[in-house]
Symmetry: C2
Subunit: 423 residues, 2 copies
């Protein structure tokens, strides 16, 4: 099996200033494409360390993918280290990348400086995959068998995450063109509302009965729930896909509407699919989630077709004056309550005239209100079949609580819309 | 300088199922303590790979800290690999850890099973640092100089993040008791509004004149701008900190209000610092940013002291009916215009009664409106010194455009508040 090492280069990772997310996402993509990641390595912006470490990785892997150290400033020295490692004696200008640099900078109203232009200069020992998303080109160094005892390829990607990830499909295509890569077939279903352990217990009989060549993975995520992925390595495409489908059918019978999608998906997109083309609309009223729900909904291109808008009512005065929450309700039940969640949902629906609405009020922490436990949220959903409420408590830090509150609210809204449409 | 390698062990990291946050946090703690992290490595749950890789890391580092692979289940094989690596021939029971295991399980109402008891058994070649937060003990393997050519120590920590991080202070104390540890000093300033390359050109004379032992790093981030960090290894605390301060003073004279903070910070927190305790308040009206600005502002604990709320006016009807934008303005100037941004800012300020407000209208993409370029944003800020507007164009994907729009709006708001307070 073709084997890869993913290396991130940059002092900021070694001193713990930023968390390296590139390695994880690149590995996920390689894994899905059937390329096995054997090691991940992070090293600093130091010439000798870069050369020695990459050489070592090339000695024990077919593929090495590096990210980082390609910026225009002086502390980025990866390119010169790669020139040495590959025995390059001169740099050549890559015209395609230079044109991209001109386009990007001029679109930002910036002049092309010498240090920008220098980014289009690459060692003559590499091939270039143009980077349309940024100024640093993707460099491909191919080493013949005699160098490391096996044919080896080094792909140098920029460190900026969206540029690095943007380069991955082209890198995978290139790997597939040069190395034997076994096909891998997989399909996922997305679930929300059950923890990994409870889910695992519920589906245990099904999981135990899976054919030996079928592998199940649990992929939990704060915002999207637990993804269940079935995979098979090798075999005939059509046949294996049919076998996977058959197993997932059985799984759907067990999990019912805990499954919200049969592809890699998220809750906000699922809600968009439910609403698009129906003429039905949506609004939101947020207190403790502070705009996160609106932000998730509007992350979907074309959300303006069904999302009218939202009110973040952080102050009580805004809850009352803009959303029309009754001051007596707040007085009697408190701000974090079923009643206020319901009135917020109804209020924003009246205000915007939307078909559906979702509302949150709670305590994300770390500060409490002396009454409710930190991590408590009340969710209200309103629509043609009336107003429904739900409460949950999560024991996380502020940011994680906000994410869980938001995802739970979106899932509650999804279930409301589903049941509403079917009635 | 004492040099460390941080190694995480576990297939779930290599297939990209989870993002490794242990390495980053452990490295941060080591770095602050003056222990230099030279490499981070992630490897799978494979015996030979664990032995070979850890041996290699011990050959080139004084300290190796591993996390993971110490759980009670079958796929966790780190302990047996470490027994082999250290030449252990038998396991011994660690009584302190066994007592902790009993305490933890009984507090959860669980019986102590054989697989739990087995966690207190450790190779006779190691010392134990008790792990009060979980069942797996922290193992310390000390290798004499003759083994790897230098005295080397391997600390094996559990993989559960809060257990791993909980063990770090004891590990650092142990390192300091056995190795010479030099101090490290650094300080950052946060800048916004200039690209890395432009910044680098502007401060080049200053950068070139820096003392040889002072290292400058550029750390760009979509949401927080470019962080500039100066560091010195070794020396006397007070003296080196004064030297760094003096250089940063010179930098401040060059960059002026492009610098928004002299510590690790972000724009929303800076705005919070400007407003807290002043009695002044803030609101937001968002179109293309869809709730992201409110979300950023409310990510700061205690934001409720100054943030009243926001309206995400995605639909034109909400801009008109809730924010009071004049239909004639939209008709005449278009939704994405200086005039609408200004009326949105003024509208939300009227609606909430806040001292300041910030508004955005633009096109995050990928869909356009047939008039404006995708990536265009108009920002309005309103307050006691009137209403100001700004336009920018960014050529990114939808999510990145939303982030850039939001950060630029926050920076524009920050400058408005700064100038307003000083007048």
């Amino acid at each position: 099996m073709t084997q890869a090492s993913v290396c991130t280069i940059g002092d900021e990772i070694l001193i713990g200033q930023i968390v390296d997310t590139n390695s994880s996402r690149i590995s996920q993509a390689l894994n899905i494409a059937g390329i096995r990641v054997k090691r991940m390595l992070s090293i600093g912006d130091e010439r000798k360390e870069i050369i020695d470490s990459l050489r070592e990785e090339l000695e024990i892997n077919d593929i090495v993918i590096s990210t980082g150290g390609l910026g225009p400033t002086k502390d980025d020295i990866t390119k010169s280290a790669l020139a040495t490692l590959s025995g390059s004696r001169k740099y050549v200008e890559n015209e395609t990348q230079l044109a991209i640099i001109h386009r990007i900078l001029s679109s930002r109203g910036l002049d092309v400086l010498d240090i920008n232009r220098a980014q289009a200069m690459v060692p003559d020992t590499c091939e270039v995959i143009p980077n349309n998303l940024g100024t640093a080109p993707i460099m491909v160094f191919r080493f013949e068998e005699k160098v490391f005892g096996h044919p080896a390829t080094l792909y140098a990607l920029p460190g900026v995450p969206f540029e690095a990830l943007g380069a991955v499909p082209a890198v995978i295509d290139d790997i597939k063109a040069h190395y034997p890569v076994e096909d891998i077939y997989h399909k996922s279903v997305m679930t929300y509302g059950m923890a990994e352990s409870a889910l695992s217990k519920l589906i245990e009989p099904w999981e135990t009965a899976l054919p030996a060549d079928m592998h199940l993975a649990y992929l939990p995520n704060q915002l999207t729930g637990v993804r269940l992925r079935l995979s098979i390595y090798g075999g005939e495409k059509e046949k294996e896909e049919t076998r996977i489908e058959a197993e997932l059918k059985k799984l759907e019978a067990i999990l019912g509407d805990k499954i919200y999608s049969d592809s890699d998906d998220n809750l906000q997109n699922t809600i968009g699919r439910l609403l698009k083309g129906t003429g039905k609309t949506l609004s939101a009223a947020e207190s403790c989630t502070g705009g996160e729900i609106a932000s998730l909904i509007t992350s979907i291109p074309g959300a303006s077709e069904y999302f009218l808008g939202s009110v973040t009512s952080y102050a009580i005065s805004v809850k009352e004056s803009v959303l029309g929450v009754n001051p007596a309700t707040i007085e009697k039940c408190g701000v974090v309550s079923r009643e206020v969640a319901a009135e917020m949902a109804e209020g924003v629906r009246n205000l915007t005239g939307s078909t559906y609405s979702v509302a949150t009020t709670g305590l994300a922490g770390p500060l409490g209100d002396g009454v409710n436990r930190v991590g408590t949220v009340w969710i209200g959903v309103s629509g043609p079949s009336g107003t429904k409420t739900l409460t949950k408590n999560y024991q996380n830090d502020r940011m994680r609580n906000i994410e869980r509150f938001s995802a739970t609210a979106l899932d509650f809204l999804r279930q409301y819309i589903l049941n509403d449409s079917s009635s």
